[in-house]
């Protein structure tokens, strides 16, 4: 996939517009940040305005939200969920914890940098990020998608060995099936 | 006719019975061979006489010692009595073949056995053939007296007990019959059945009925009618294997013959038919019901046999020609099928102490032929086509339908379902229950197998083509139903005179 805007065909532009305007979110409530999802989705902030809605299973989802700290135990599940999602797929790191560990930076059972393990497209800073910030993050993601630059899923494919190495450092009893695309 | 004569039926077996010990002195094997020869001759006798009866259409009447009836004693070989006599002699031969090796090592026992069998044969055929009521009584006594030791043959406690019960009840039968005969003789002054039949109207009503009741009771005991058949299950189950078949195919036939003669020929009481029918129904239901609850094979077969006797009484109690034909058919079937069941059944429980049904579980694989033949017999007796039992049942049902006895049809069919239940339980057990290993299967000897195969062949053949013997039944029924003809043939002069 070529990333410069000039060479893109009209079909790609339409498709990217559709991808941007219809984001199905697999809200994986890993950490305390998950509490900010309900106000984002419900009447006060109403993310559905922007075509953002929940999806029940990874098969249907486009966006994986990592809501806050990621315990080593849930990392495995998150990776699994991500790998089951279908391309193109995006990850939004949510809150400080996903950037550098946040208040859990020295905890024995959380990971500090999410992008060592998974390809993050957009980070939303804050502890907690308020719904406004969340929506701003989504807007940023939408811009990236429209520009064809939200290529986390490609990075994951291309650098799978790097991610696997880091993942296996954390997850000792590795029983995951192979990532097959 | 020199060679074949009805008298030989009675005389020869009696003679052989008495001479058998002497034969035994000459050569041990003779006690086995001679009865067989005798039976073969009896069958020959039957064939010859029967062909004559069929060709002339008249019964053969033999006068003993040259005295003409009603004074003299006579034997009447009609299509009816001759048919039963034929069945008895053929079954006798088969029993003989079956039990040829019976107790071969114990000379005394086998001698006893064959003598008794001879006596039973003589008595049974005598009962069937005689035209004289007192002689009938005498022959019945011969049957009874030879049956007692057969029941107690094994000299065990149970056998003796069964025999004793038989004896007690048999004594009642003797008394009742004798009293009845005395009553008749005192009123009519004759013992000839034809003449009694002719002049029964002369008897005062009360005495006639009393005599009828007494004879009915006595003959009912011999015919295994409920509730007079308490002796029968014990006797059947305690007697040696082949004797069960003897009882079913010979003595029971004699017993039912007496009661048929009583109702059909001797007396002119219409209620007699209904009484016979009613008692038949009760016998059928009670016996088959009890057979359902039996745990011992032979007792089950015995009760089933009683049920068949009930069926016979029903058939003759209906008193139409079709019903009597059906009755003859059932009589034939009962002899053949029940013998097959007794023959094969006794091999199945050969080594078992208590002869329990559960002792023969799994024998289907151990004794394939015997088990198969038992199964075939079971299929036949419950009336599954294309075996012979079906045609008998069908003709009985059609006869009852013709007489508007719809409830009776339903009853018979319900009882047939009960029959299916208990027979199929045994057959299922034979083939599909696990072999306990407690009892060694005993292989039937070749002669026993032969007999069973012959019986099975008869069952199948008659089932496939009932017309083969159907005409005999019709003729027999004709002979039985036509009372006037009977009287005319026995007493030509009197009958004409009366008219």
């Amino acid at each position: 996939m070529v990333n410069d805007k000039e060479s893109r065909k009209i079909v790609d532009i339409i498709q990217d517009f559709a991808r941007k305007s219809s984001l199905f979110v697999l809200a994986y409530g890993t950490g305390c940040g998950a509490i900010e999802i309900p106000p984002t989705m419900t009447s006060r902030y109403d993310a559905e305005r922007f075509g953002i809605r929940g999806a029940a299973t990874p098969r249907q989802a486009d966006v994986l939200l990592i809501t806050g700290y990621l315990a080593t135990k849930s990392l495995k599940r998150v990776i699994r969920a991500y790998e089951q999602m279908q391309n193109p797929k995006y990850i939004i790191g949510f809150g400080s914890c996903t950037i550098n560990g946040g208040m859990y930076w020295d905890s024995y059972n959380t990971i500090n940098r999410l992008d060592m393990y998974m390809p993050v497209d957009v980070y939303i800073n804050g502890c907690m990020p308020r719904p406004e910030a969340v929506i701003a993050g989504f807007a940023k993601l939408q811009k990236l998608i429209q520009a064809g630059k939200a290529d986390g899923w490609e990075r994951y494919q291309n650098n799978l060995e790097f991610y696997r190495k880091n993942q296996k450092k954390i997850i000792h009893n590795w029983v995951m099936p192979d990532y097959n695309w | 006719m020199v060679v074949a004569n009805p008298i030989l039926y009675v005389a020869l077996p009696l003679l052989v019975a008495f001479l058998l010990p002497l034969f035994g002195k000459i050569h041990k094997e003779l006690i086995r061979v001679v009865p067989g020869l005798l039976f073969m001759f009896l069958i020959f006798n039957t064939v010859v006489l029967f062909s004559e009866v069929t060709s002339t259409g008249k019964p053969i009447i033999t006068q003993i010692a040259g005295w003409a009836p009603p004074i003299g004693i006579n034997l009447v070989f009609s299509a009816f009595s001759g048919f039963i006599a034929g069945i008895i002699s053929i079954m006798g031969l088969l029993v003989w073949v079956y039990s040829y090796k019976f107790k071969k090592v114990e000379f005394d026992n086998s001698l006893k056995y064959f003598v008794l069998i001879m006596l039973v044969t003589a008595g049974s055929i005598g009962v069937v053939l005689t035209g004289d009521i007192f002689n009938l009584f005498v022959f019945l006594e011969i049957v009874a007296l030879s049956s007692y030791p057969l029941v107690a043959f094994y000299r065990g406690r149970d056998g003796a007990e069964a025999s004793f019960k038989y004896l007690i009840v048999g004594a009642f039968a003797s008394i009742a019959i004798l009293l009845g005969i005395v009553l008749i003789y005192s009123q009519l002054g004759t013992l000839n059945m034809a003449e009694i039949s002719l002049r029964i109207g002369e008897m005062p009503e009360k005495i006639k009925i009393t005599a009828f009741i007494l004879l009915f009771l006595g003959f009912g005991i011999e015919a295994e009618m409920f509730p007079l058949n308490g002796w029968a299950p014990d006797a059947y189950s305690q007697a040696p294997g082949p004797v069960g078949a003897v009882f079913a195919s010979m003595t029971a036939k004699a017993g039912i013959y007496t009661i048929i003669r009583l109702v059909f020929t001797l007396f002119d009481i219409d209620a007699g038919y209904q009484l016979l029918l009613g008692m038949g129904i009760i016998t059928l239901v009670v016996s088959e019901g009890i057979a359902l609850r039996q745990e011992k094979l032979k007792r089950m077969l015995a009760f089933s046999s009683l049920g068949q006797m009930g069926l016979l009484m029903i058939a003759f109690g209906i008193n139409t020609k079709a019903a009597v034909v059906a009755g003859m058919f059932i009589l034939f079937n009962h002899a053949v099928i029940k013998s097959l069941l007794f023959f094969s059944g006794s091999y199945l429980v050969y080594n078992s102490e208590n002869k329990n049904i559960k002792d023969l579980f799994g024998f289907g694989k151990k004794l394939p032929l015997t088990a198969f033949l038992f199964g075939l017999g079971a299929f036949a007796i419950v009336g599954l086509p294309p075996l012979s039992g079906f045609w008998a049942k069908l003709s009985l049902l059609m006869a009852s339908a013709d007489s508007n006895l719809i409830a009776l049809i339903a009853l018979i069919l319900i009882v047939s379902v009960v029959e299916i239940v208990y027979y199929f339980r045994v057959v299922n057990g034979l083939y599909f229950k696990k072999y306990t290993g407690e009892f060694e299967p005993h292989k039937p000897s070749w002669n026993a197998s032969l007999v069973m195969l012959i019986l099975a062949a008869v069952i199948v053949t008659v089932g496939l083509y009932p017309d083969l013997i159907y005409n005999y039944f019709v003729n027999a029924a004709d002979a039985l139903m036509d009372k006037a003809n009977y009287i005319q043939n026995v007493l030509p002069s009197n009958f004409v005179g009366l008219n």
Binding site: P58, R59, K76, R77, V78, I79, R80, A81, Q84, V175, P177, N180, W181 | F164, K165, I168, V169, A176, I209, T210, F212, I213, F216, L217, G220, P227, L228, W231, D234, A271, Q274, G289, I290, L292, R293, V382, L384, P385, P386, F390, W391, K393, L394, A401, N404, I406, I409, L413, I414, S416, V417, V418, I420, V421, R425, N428, Y431, F432, Y465, P466
Partner: protein, 609 residues
């Protein structure tokens, strides 16, 4: 060549086959194969001629009516397929000669029933069919007393009811000829009409497993080898339908007793509903299909009971069709049993991976069973519904609709539980597709099911001929359209072709688009909250899957007819136990009986004589 020869030839061949298996298994199989091929070859080429045998003063007549030959066609086709199928299926079992002999006996029995023109020979062949099927039911030796004896008892009750009817008919009509019975039936008194027809119905109802008399069916269908059950449930139970059609149509419809037809129809409707409910909750495939068979026979009874032209036509069509698709389904079960040795939903899953052909034929048969367009089952369902609606059976139509909607539940359960769902490598390791000889029968019947879906006229012709025997002359039929009594029509070709066209169009689209990036993944790779599933985790959800529905209808399901029968039989046994005490084994008692009997007779002599 006379008709009787066919039957005798089959019986003779049965015995020869038995002997052949005694010599050599291969030889025996050859014998089986020869019959399987010769039977249809002979049946479809010969010209029937009547034959009369005289037995015991009754004349037994043999010959085909066109109605009987419709059913004979089903019997011949299904039996020859089932015999072919048996050869590989039964290969590893023992006592094959016995099995095939009884198999052929029952085939001969069925042919005999259809050839009989009088009631006695019908009864004889009926009983031959009954005991030979009984011998096969107990052939595997499982639960012989519980299942086999139950089958035999019910069959006997039915058969004896029939026998009673036959002897009564013989009395009332003067002979046992079937046609003359129908001719003289209107002259019967009303009690005689009721009695004779009800008894006949009981007889036929047992074999066709109508509701209060169905108790034997689940066990018997389950316990016989599947290759025989295909015939048992497909063709043998149709003998009951055959008789019922004769009774319902010839006696009730044409003799102005429609109320009895209603009784049959209602019995059928209730059977259809309850049996379907029971089928839904089964966890054994064979039980499921057995109950389903009972339910399907209920539809047929409804069609025959209503007795209009369309409904009888629908009933006959469904009867033939049920024989075909249930034949396939039992063969499918047999195939699964053959390859996996299991028949319980607990043990089986994901067979589509290893047995795709079997899955395909099962799918076809199930769609036909469920009555879905575009396959043949729908044609029958359509005619049945239309006939009910046009004849104002509006409550009954709801029962039937409830039943056929509920049937979707077990249809799904069947396909999903066996073929779909989680694929367990451990379980599927040794499974492979069935041998070709088993595929051929299943495949051919499935093809016919597909063909009849669009061109039911292929089979309408013999049905229309059969209808003329039943007194519906000149039934009009068309190759691929249906019409009801109000003149509303259903055109199958446009409907089915439209469906297929759209299907294929979208199939192309969905396959072509993004084809390279469409991956096939295993069933362990499922979205389950991110937890990877290990090989030993079995997430197959196929046992007790309809609990919510059970909670809804549990008030009905509490009552089982079987309990009622159990109570009756227990009562009877206890009653006879009482009798048994009469024989105390004591000589004095017996003597007492004699005295009592004598006294009673003497006392009662004045009243008796």
């Amino acid at each position: 060549m006379s008709n009787l020869v066919i039957i005798l030839a089959i019986f003779g061949w049965a015995i020869l086959t038995y002997l052949a298996f005694k010599i050599n298994k291969t030889l025996g199989n050859v014998f089986v194969g020869v019959l399987a091929l010769a039977l249809p070859a002979y049946f479809f080429t010969y010209t029937p001629s009547d034959y009369t045998v005289s037995v015991m003063g009754m004349s037994l007549q043999f010959g085909f009516t066109s109605f009987a030959s419709l059913f004979a066609m089903l019997v011949v086709v299904l039996s020859s397929f089932a015999l072919l199928y048996s050869i590989p299926y039964m290969n590893k079992k023992d006592r094959l000669g016995w099995f095939y002999m009884n198999f052929m006996f029952s085939v001969g029995g069925m042919m005999g029933i259809l050839m009989s023109k009088d009631l006695v020979s019908l009864f004889i062949f009926w009983e031959i069919m009954t005991w030979s099927s009984y011998l096969i039911v107990i052939y595997q030796g499982k639960k012989v007393n519980k299942v086999g004896l139950k089958y035999m008892i019910f069959s006997a009750i039915g058969a004896y009811a029939m026998l009673m009817a036959i002897v009564l008919i013989n009395k009332w009509s003067g002979n046992v000829n079937i046609e003359q019975f129908f001719a003289s039936f209107p002259n019967y008194s009303s009690a005689a009409k009721l009695l004779s027809s009800l008894l006949l119905l009981t007889g036929f109802g047992v074999k066709s497993a109508l509701m209060p008399l169905h108790v034997w069916a689940p066990g018997a269908y389950t316990k016989s080898p599947m290759s025989y059950t295909a015939v048992f449930s497909g063709a043998l139970s149709k003998m009951g339908i055959y008789g019922m059609a004769l009774v319902a149509v010839n006696l009730y419809v044409h003799s102005n007793m429609p109320i009895m037809g209603e009784v049959i129809a209602w019995a059928g409707a209730i059977t259809a509903v309850l049996a379907t409910f029971w089928a839904i909750f089964q966890n054994d495939i064979r039980k499921l299909l057995a109950y389903s068979s009972i339910g399907q026979l209920g539809y047929i009874a409804v069609g025959l009971g209503i007795g209009t032209e369309l409904s009888v036509f629908a009933g006959l069509y469904l009867a033939i069709l049920h024989g075909l698709f249930k034949g396939v389904l039992w063969m499918v079960v047999g195939a699964i049993e053959h390859r996996t040795g299991k028949t319980d939903f607990r043990d089986i899953s994901g067979l589509i991976k290893k047995m795709p052909f079997t899955f395909f034929v099962a799918l076809v048969a199930i769609i036909a069973l469920a009555g879905m367009p575009p396959l043949s089952g729908f044609v029958g369902k359509w005619m049945l519904y239309e006939s009910m609606i046009t004849s104002n059976h509006f409550i009954m139509v709801l029962f039937i609709f409830l039943s056929s909607t509920a049937a979707f539940l077990y249809c799904f359960h069947f396909l999903y539980g066996l073929f779909l769902g989680q694929q367990e490598d451990e379980f599927l390791k040794d499974v492979k597709e069935v041998p070709v000889l088993m595929m051929i029968p299943m495949g051919l019947i499935s093809l016919s099911l597909i063909a009849f879906g669009t061109f039911p006229g292929l089979i309408f012709k013999p049905i229309a001929q059969a209808m003329s025997t039943l007194g519906f002359e000149n039934v009009t039929w068309r190759m691929s359209s249906l019409t009801n009594a109000w003149g509303n029509s259903m055109f199958l070709k446009p409907a089915n072709f439209m469906f297929m066209a759209v299907f294929v169009f979208f199939l192309i689209i969905i396959t072509v688009v993004n084809h390279k990036k469409t991956k096939k993944v295993g069933t362990k790779d499922i979205a389950n909250g991110g937890e990877p599933i290990r090989d030993e985790d079995n997430l197959h959800y196929s046992v007790d899957i309809y609990r919510p529905f059970y909670r809804v209808i549990s008030p009905i399901m509490k009552y089982k007819v079987e309990t009622f029968y159990k109570r009756i039989s227990k009562g009877i046994e206890e009653f006879f136990q009482f009798f048994r005490r009469i024989y105390s084994g004591n000589g004095q008692t017996y003597a007492l009986y004699v005295v009592i009997f004598l006294t009673a007779l003497l006392i009662l002599s004045s009243t008796i004589f």
